[in-house]
Symmetry: C2
């Protein structure tokens, strides 16, 4: 029986915002969240943005930068959100978090000649999903 565990760590607003994002099958925009939680008493952008910020820190959600939208973490790998990869369909706009060890190993250990040490990355792939490729 999945989903028995509640999210006890989250504050009220954080939980409300997280629920919206988790239930959505697609990335959710901040103002779409705001609109949807008006009925729950959240009235102003800062309340949403503060919850988003915290949820990102906790690794429970990620921001899809190219879309200014937010998705729940599916990969349980990234409890602390520091290495994220997404595939984005250019037609239907479906976004999927990529959990691939070869990819994450490669990127986590990547170093270039600049001498910079990377603690964190975000990767967004664009292309056509299976469905959209067929049409």
């Amino acid at each position: 029986m999945a989903n028995m565990e509640k999210e006890y760590n989250l504050s009220k607003n954080q939980q409300i915002v997280f629920d919206i994002i988790e239930k959505s099958s697609e990335p959710v925009k901040a103002y779409s969240i705001l609109f949807n939680v008006k009925k729950k008493g959240i009235k102003a952008p800062p309340q949403v943005y503060r919850a988003l910020e915290k949820l990102i820190k906790l690794g429970k959600i990620h921001k899809v930068e190219s879309k200014n939208a937010f998705v729940a973490c599916k990969s349980s790998n990234c409890e602390v959100s520091k290495a994220t990869a997404f595939s984005i369909c250019e037609i239907c706009e479906k976004v999927t978090e990529i959990a691939n060890n070869k990819l994450s190993n490669f990127l986590n250990s990547f170093e270039d000649k600049s001498g910079m040490k990377y603690k964190k990355y975000n990767l967004e792939f664009f292309g056509l999903c299976k469905k959209c490729k067929k049409t």
Copy 2:
């Protein structure tokens, strides 16, 4: 003697916007561009955003998504801008385009089980640059 070649393909506004970005040592924001080109007769956001859009298509600039800012392409690899990678210092905010064959080969040939074929990607690494690591 570098930079002899002018950008004959670019329209007036495109050239003006490109010059600003190319001369800057850091990513430039759209409204910063707008402010700086007022003296050249560009007065309104759409003029800037249209130029940016075209320059991106041409691969002459890239958008750094996590910063909503634009940089000139340094890598001459990406004439058609479809595979971009940046390193971003979390302290001084310096952004550098990464040109690394191992990285681009790996990402260009990446496939996961989703069956999605990727034509394009954007990767942003975060960390501390050499300078900021020392302090």
